[in-house]
């Protein structure tokens, strides 16, 4: 059995190597470019985007939906696994919580980027109207940010105390910060009882808030009359899609953290196997909702629905549609059914494809619908009949994605990415159990 001190030093945050620093530098450059492009957008107005009166929302909104969906991983894996007492979750939860926090913060920023009058953002509070789905979003997103922040912070308390001790001599300043953040955690039984109860409450809260968040996000679209959005199944469709996006992102990030931090002993192939099964389940459920969402309109073939489906299945968006459906959904299900497909490296690639597919999936949900309004598109420049993001939109969107990765990277750098105390405790109980077995 590993010694406690070894576990602590294995899992304690480490300084970046050269690659790490280059990675941070790369992300920072992308973020700066995005800030410059955004400043230009504010000055010139959104005419720098390729959005126009028909394609009135573009990748800012689909990127927002992607962030919201990915943030669901904190509810999906963490809370559900916690509540069902699945002990294999231990090395995965912290990273899931980090992804959730990064994504939901970026979702809030992204939706503001889409606002053409960010100078009037306070109107959302001063003149708030409760009947607007946007107001529901304004309520749920900050709520979710707070809950996911607490969900990340609470389980960290014992680890902060450990880190304080660990860095006491090597890095006194960092150690003091960990000490402050640990809120005088001593590990007394009273603290432990309170701690586990609080985490339980938070798990329930984040599950509820997560479902509400995805639902409201879906309702932003399904509360309109638009063909392709006007669906009563949109909320569960979005929730199941969020499972896929979230777990895909989790698998990808976990793989990278495991490799760069050499945590093979803690994040084992068994963990990937379990995540693979979870991802398969998520993909199958999402596939079910996809079939529901596309096959029924195909069957009834109402005029608008028919044109919409045609553009997806064989028309302008066919390439993207089949990519997100086949590569992003069907292929992962197929590959993950095999034990070999659930090994870390294949899982990493599947995870990346799933995340890319999830991003484009949101694009496919939003753009084609807007370009098929009830009235014909006439009397506007021909270019308004199609939409593809402008350079400004790409640069800004890439910057938001880079910023999410930056938040994740920095949190992984400064926080123990795998819960230390809990890992040690579990190893101890395991060792005790095996000792008992030998004794008997």
């Amino acid at each position: 059995m590993k010694k406690f001190d070894d576990i602590v030093s294995d899992l304690a945050p480490r300084e970046f190597g050269k690659t790490g620093l280059a990675w941070i530098g790369f992300l920072v450059v992308l973020v700066i470019l995005g800030i410059v492009a955004y400043a230009d957008q504010v000055i010139q107005g959104q005419k720098v985007t390729n959005m126009r009166d028909y394609a009135l929302w573009g990748i800012y909104i689909s990127n927002f939906v992607f962030f919201v969906a990915t943030s669901f991983v904190g509810s999906a894996t963490v809370a559900i696994l916690r509540l069902t007492n699945n002990s294999w979750r231990t090395p995965l939860v912290r990273i899931a919580e980090i992804i959730t926090l990064a994504c939901i913060v970026m979702a809030g920023i992204t939706i503001t980027i889409d606002m053409a009058r960010p100078d009037r953002v306070m109107n959302l509070f001063i003149h708030a109207r409760l009947q607007s789905p946007i107001t529901w979003d304004i309520i749920i997103i900050p709520t979710f940010i707070v809950i996911s922040l607490l969900m990340l912070y609470f389980p960290l308390l014992p680890d902060f105390a450990l880190m304080k001790k660990h860095f006491e001599t090597s890095k006194p300043r960092l150690s003091r910060w960990y000490g402050r953040l640990s809120l005088k955690w001593t590990g007394s039984s009273a603290q432990k009882a309170l701690h586990s109860r609080s985490i339980m409450v938070l798990s329930v809260l984040i599950l509820i808030a997560g479902v509400m968040l995805q639902t409201i996000d879906a309702w932003l679209f399904s509360t309109t009359y638009r063909t392709g959005w006007d669906s009563s199944a949109f909320a569960p469709y979005f929730i199941s899609g969020a499972f896929v996006a979230g777990i895909g992102a989790l698998v990808t990030v976990i793989y990278i953290v495991r490799r760069t931090r050499k945590l093979e002993e803690y994040i084992t192939e068994g963990h990937f196997d379990k995540m693979g099964k979870l991802l398969t389940l998520a993909c199958i459920i999402y596939l079910y909702f996809n079939i529901n969402e596309y096959v029924i309109p195909f069957f009834t073939a109402k005029k608008g629905e028919d044109a919409h489906l045609e553009s997806l299945l064989t028309g302008h968006y066919a390439g993207l549609f089949w990519f997100v459906t086949l590569a992003g959904l069907v292929l992962p299900i197929f590959l993950l059914l095999f034990k070999k497909g659930r090994k870390p490296l294949p899982m990493f690639f599947i995870g990346i494809v799933v995340v890319i597919g999830s991003w484009w999936k949101r694009y496919i949900i939003i753009t084609p619908t807007l370009l098929e309004p009830f009235m014909p598109i006439q009397g506007v420049p021909e270019s308004w009949r199609t939409y593809f993001p402008s350079a400004h939109e790409w640069i800004i969107t890439i910057a938001t994605l880079a910023m999410a990765l930056l938040i994740i990277t920095l949190l992984v750098r400064f926080l123990p990415a795998v819960p230390v105390q809990r890992t040690a405790d579990e190893m101890e109980t395991k060792a005790e159990a095996s000792l008992k077995k030998i004794a008997s």
Binding site: Q44, G45, Q46, K47, T49, M51, R52, D53, Y54, L56, W57, D114, M115, A116, R117, R120, V121, N123, L124, I126, H127, A128, R129, Q131, S132, P133, I134, T135, I138, L220, F221, T223, T224, Y225, R226, L370, P373, F374, M375, P376, I377, Q378, G379, V380, P381, E382, W384
Partner: protein, 324 residues
């Protein structure tokens, strides 16, 4: 043409029969009252005239009894811009049988609302429901729905519904989220993606005119939504909206649902009878938006659909000043 214009300049509704009757009755009332308190200084002339009272009875009175009442139609100070003109319910009727895509409506609307973008508020669509049915011209503007989807989804109450039926936009409050545009099934809303660059903005700074949702487009603001406002700035002066007066074919009728009358400037008709006789309908009625704009089907058309093709521009609705 000139004759037409003169006619269309006739004051809207109130200068008609109704006002006359109101004036006469007021006159009778006043003269009777004054007769009680002061000796009548007007001697009966002996000449009489026939007038109809509001309940439809014809009465004969001495001409000396008749006196004109000055009629005020300036509501501007009397009502709240967000609540609307009291006791009115504005509606429009568009007779598709008469429309031949002359586009005078659109040009007048663009000019009077200082539209500088690429998407007009008033569009005339070339429509054909199916290969077997006849094509027709369909002018559309904001439908001023009684159950407006745009108003429901607006997070800041920037777009609002008034008691007089109008759906307007407070572009000083709009945050530019464009949810209303996504919600509107009639694709009637347009967005100021960049600086509108209107000359009017400059002029207003000098004249000190206050911007109001009642005169949408004056000025348009970057990053906010615009759309047809049903021209309340004209209506409160007793005039018809610009598209109505500009149309050479009398396609548009504007009026008040409570009064049950609509006029295209040439003829004033009973709204209910018109809709009943000509089988009026509303766009996308099945969505339940309850529009304030009614359409009369394109039957018994006087002109060939093809005639309108000369004016039809598939990719343009706002004429740009030619760059020379």
């Amino acid at each position: 043409m000139d004759e037409n214009n003169k006619k269309t300049r006739r004051k809207f509704l109130d200068r008609g029969l109704k006002l006359g009757v109101a004036g006469v009755l007021g006159g009778i009332g006043l003269s009777k009252l004054s007769a009680k308190f002061a000796p009548d200084d007007k001697a009966p002339t002996g000449e009489t005239m026939e007038l109809m009272t509001t309940d439809g009875t014809i009465v004969e009175i001495d001409t000396s009894e008749v006196m004109e009442v000055e009629h005020h139609h300036h509501y501007s100070m009397d009502y709240n811009v967000r609540e609307g003109i009291p006791n009115r319910k504005f509606v429009m009727v568009v007779d598709l049988a008469k429309c031949k895509n002359a586009l005078k409506c659109q040009q007048s609307c663009n000019k009077n609302h200082y539209i500088t973008g690429d998407n007009a508020w008033l569009k005339v669509y070339k429509m054909q429901e199916s290969a077997d049915t006849a094509p027709y011209w369909l002018p559309t503007m904001c439908q001023h729905c009684d159950k407006p989807a745009c108003v429901t989804v607006c997070p800041v109450d920037a777009t609002f519904k008034r008691e007089d039926g109008l759906v307007l936009i407070d572009n000083e409050r709009c945050i530019g989220c464009r949810f209303c545009m996504a919600a509107c099934p009639y694709s009637t809303r347009v967005f100021n993606w960049g600086d509108p660059g209107q000359e009017v903005t400059l002029n207003m700074d000098m004249t000190g005119v206050e911007p109001t949702p009642e005169y949408a487009g004056r000025p348009s603001l970057k990053g906010t939504v615009d759309k047809c406002d049903f021209c309340p700035h004209m209506v409160k002066e007793g005039e018809l909206p610009h598209c109505v007066t500009a149309c050479p074919n009398g396609v548009f009728y504007f009026g008040d649902k409570y009064e049950d009358t609509v006029t295209n400037g040439e003829e004033t008709l009973r709204l209910s009878k018109l809709l009943e006789d000509k089988a009026g309908y509303r766009l996308l009625e099945s969505l339940g938006t309850e529009p304030s704009v009614y359409y009369l089907p394109p039957v018994d058309r006087l002109v060939d659909f093809e005639e309108g093709m000369s004016e039809f521009k598939e990719f343009e609705s706002v004429e740009k000043p030619s760059e020379e």
